[in-house]
């Protein structure tokens, strides 16, 4: 019984939250990695592009809510996401046309493109804050819990409750569907394969008749989809605040690099590596040990490796270690 309690405890406080957070990071990390692999620069506007997509989702959600449309137990935002994606893709393509294209055709060094992306970051951040403001917003509606902690306790008779939020299930489910579709697209379709070829060796790909304009356009479209969905899921699960989104750029970068930048599958796993290590290292295991150890050996302290204040620092330290020992990432990406 105690073992069961301990397992439920870990599930409730570590496994499910980490899986959710990891999925959200993974979507962002694939976004970063695609841009890096195909357009060849580190996109510092990642977090703010995600917040732009989320903002559009929220605006559509409000619009639908004012019309009285809802999805019942599911959040209305799900209905808004497709419209937001269209908006986001237009935004991405126009940014590319007015900003990035010039540097790409001039074959500027990646550093210059990264600097330009900082300009885009400032502008996007301003637009988001001017339109929706900097404050914290929740736009979740519908049924909040699939399993409530109290109900679970009554059902199983255990001491520990397991709460399962619908946003958590939604996040994990959508991520799995989206990522499988993406990998199917990259590995099986002709366009996807030509994207990979372009990422591996630009000159060779051009020689074999791949149209770079099309590749770039499709990359931005996929990036727009990933940014909007990733951002909206994060906002549904937690809340939407432009500053948090800007900050999320950092663990997303860490995930992309840990997974091997330029490698979408690595980025996907990298998201979970970062999320799990953040939560594993900062969780206080006192209660866990109280269940599995006999009473005489119960720990007095919190048994916490690092205080939760250092959550971010954990992922960055992992990144630094990876950069030192395996600069190409855990799953081989582009070599430095």
């Amino acid at each position: 019984m105690d073992i069961l309690n301990a397992i439920i405890l870990l599930l409730n406080y570590i496994f499910i939250p980490a899986l959710t957070y990891g999925s959200q990071l993974a979507l962002g990390a694939i976004f970063v990695t695609l841009i890096y692999g195909i357009l060849r620069f580190a996109n510092f506007a990642t977090g703010d592009m995600m917040s732009f997509g989320t903002m559009v989702t929220i605006l559509f959600t409000w619009y639908f809510q004012s019309l009285g449309i809802s999805l019942g137990i599911l959040p209305t935002a799900l209905l808004a996401i497709p419209f937001a994606i269209i908006f986001m893709i237009l935004y991405m393509l126009s940014i590319d046309k007015f900003v990035f294209k010039y540097y790409r055709t001039n074959k500027s060094p990646p550093v210059q493109l990264a600097m330009v992306s900082i300009g885009v970051m400032f502008v996007t951040q301003a637009v988001v804050r001017i339109i929706i403001g900097p404050s914290d917003r929740r736009f979740f509606d519908g049924e909040k819990f699939i399993i409530k902690a109290r109900e679970f306790k009554e059902m199983t008779g255990l001491n520990e409750g397991l709460a399962l939020k619908s946003t958590q299930v939604l996040t994990i489910f959508v991520t799995i569907v989206l990522v499988s579709l993406l990998f199917w697209f990259l590995n099986k379709t002709k366009t996807g394969k030509s994207m990979k070829a372009y990422s591996d060796n630009e000159d060779l790909a051009l020689l074999s008749g791949i149209d770079p304009k099309k590749i770039v356009m499709i990359t931005w479209i996929i990036a727009g989809i990933l940014a909007t969905i990733g951002g909206a899921l994060y906002g549904l699960d937690k809340s939407f605040k432009p500053f948090t989104y800007f900050n999320n750029m950092l663990p997303i970068f860490a995930a992309a690099i840990v997974g091997g930048i330029g490698n979408p599958f690595g980025a996907f796993l990298g998201g979970y590596v970062i999320a799990f290590s953040e939560i594993f290292l900062t969780y206080a295991y006192k209660k866990f040990f109280m269940y599995i150890l006999p009473e005489s050996m119960e720990p007095e302290s919190l048994v916490q490796l690092l205080s939760t204040d250092y959550k971010f620092a954990v992922s960055f330290s992992i990144l630094v270690i990876v950069l030192l020992y395996r600069p190409s990432g855990i799953f081989k990406g582009k070599v430095l």
Binding site: A42, Q112, M115, G119, Q125, L319, L323
Partner: protein, 456 residues
């Protein structure tokens, strides 16, 4: 003279703008903008040394600024005796443990060949060391943080004049840069950018949460000043006389004696804060001028030529026998140290240390905008960038407000869109910075004052 005409013109316009603010808004605002412009100029000089001279990207400026600020606290605050007696011993023990750990790792690195075994044992030492330190320091930290937590709750500093912290801040930042440089300088440019950005976040996390050292988010307020206090000035005779002499024309018009006294009091209050700001300006200007002379000398020295050679063609410089790795590390340390000075100056001016206020937008990316806009590789350009960008950053909101009112003049005040726009005026500064950066990068990629290399 003619060659420098654009430099002189650009600086005159900048000064003119600040003076205009003084005339139309107030001298207080103009001077506080000017002071922060000077501090920004020091930061941009640091970043410019790294980026403009050597082509190294350092997105960790925030971290070095915060370390400089920490230096200001540790130097100027009086030591908290109770805290030292409560937990000082534990902290010193942990310090010893860290030193022992570093020495052991160094020994292993020197003594044994590179192998998996060595890597694992070093990792084991670090992990067990961190755990050991955590458990040995825990009671001490708790004891320290329990000492009058509303007022102190930290070890305090050395109680020295705060000016010393400018040098100590440089050493702190340089020390961190040494470690970061050893770790990360081998990385390619954009990886280096990300790595330094993340490391600076780690530094901020530590400063924010190690309350025994920094008081964390409880902030340290009321730091000592190198300049006189306004309250003291307002009661000193020579200062009142000075203000009276300065404004004699204005005061003579007022015939009523009590009215005149009231006006004088008001002027003294305003004058005192202007005077204090002028003191700071003098101090900061001295630092900027000294740094400018040093960096200009360095730029045109054989060393500066070597750095440019390394920047422009690393392989060739390496083939000529220049030690690229060593020079990169050196310049990384020098640039960061300058940023550290600026961090200490900033805290000195504010008189308070607020770890929560260190955000990458303000302390890293904005500084980079300054360097790019001003002109990388050119010290005058970097300083000008600091001035222009900071000026716009502060004045963006009034400018935006003016523009909104101008374009929506026909629309009534109650219009929802107009009200919303006026409410979000503070965020137009981001828009302005972003557009400015994008335009400069597109149409004047070398900045307002581009790099000029004259071989003398």
């Amino acid at each position: 003279m003619r060659k420098n005409l654009n430099v002189i013109a650009a600086y005159s316009i900048m000064m003119g703008l600040i003076i205009l603010v003084g005339i139309f808004q107030s001298w207080n605002i103009a001077l506080s903008i000017f002071n922060l412009c000077l501090i920004s100029a020091v930061m941009t000089m640091g970043a410019n040394i790294q980026w403009g001279y050597a082509g190294l990207i350092n997105f960790g400026i925030m971290g070095y600024t915060a370390l400089g600020g920490l230096a200001a606290v540790l130097i100027s605050v009086d030591p908290v005796q109770e805290a030292w007696s409560a937990g000082g011993f534990d902290i010193l023990m942990s310090l010893w443990l860290i030193i022992v750990m570093v020495l052991v790792i160094r020994f292993i690195l020197k003594r044994f060949e590179k192998s998996k075994m060595r890597t694992y044992s070093i990792a084991a030492i670090i992990i067990s060391g961190v755990l050991l330190i955590r458990f040995s320091a825990e009671p001490g930290i708790e004891a320290i943080e329990a000492v009058d937590p509303a007022k102190t709750g930290f070890l305090g500093g050395f109680g020295l004049p705060i000016i010393f912290s400018w040098i100590v801040g440089a050493f702190f930042a340089g020390g961190l840069a040494f470690i970061v440089g050893k770790v990360a300088l081998g990385l390619r440019a954009d990886y280096l950018a990300i790595a330094t950005l993340l490391i600076s976040e780690i530094v901020i996390a530590i400063i924010k949460h190690e309350d025994w050292l920094t008081r964390g988010v409880k902030n340290v307020i009321g730091l000592k000043r190198p300049a006189p206090y306004e309250v003291d000035l307002q009661t000193t005779d020579w200062f009142i006389n000075l203000v009276e002499k300065f404004n004699s024309g204005k005061l003579e018009i007022i015939s009523n004696l009590s009215d005149r006294q009231a006006a004088l009091n008001q002027l003294v209050i305003e004058g005192s804060s202007v005077f204090v700001k002028l003191c700071y300006s003098g101090l900061f200007l001295t630092v900027v001028i000294i740094l400018l002379i040093l960096t200009q000398k360095a730029l045109y020295s054989p060393w500066g030529r070597m750095m440019r050679a390394i920047r422009d063609n690393e392989e060739a410089a390496n083939a000529m026998g220049k030690n690229v790795v060593k020079q990169h590390l050196l310049i990384f340390i020098l640039g960061s140290a300058i940023v550290g000075i600026a961090g200490a100056m900033l805290v000195t001016q504010d008189g308070l240390f607020t770890p929560g206020s260190y955000r990458p937008m303000r302390y890293t990316f904005l500084i980079w905008v300054m360097v790019i806009v001003g002109g990388s590789g050119n010290n005058f350009g970097a300083i000008l960038g600091g001035f222009v960008v900071w000026f716009l950053w502060i004045e963006a909101a009034p400018i935006a407000l003016f523009l909104i009112n101008f374009f929506t003049a026909g629309i009534p005040e109650t219009n929802a869109l107009k009200a919303h726009l006026i409410e979000s005026v503070p965020y137009f500064r981001f828009l302005m910075m972003g557009l400015g950066l994008l335009l400069i990068m597109r149409y004047r990629p070398k900045g307002i004052l581009p790099e000029k290399i004259e071989i003398k």
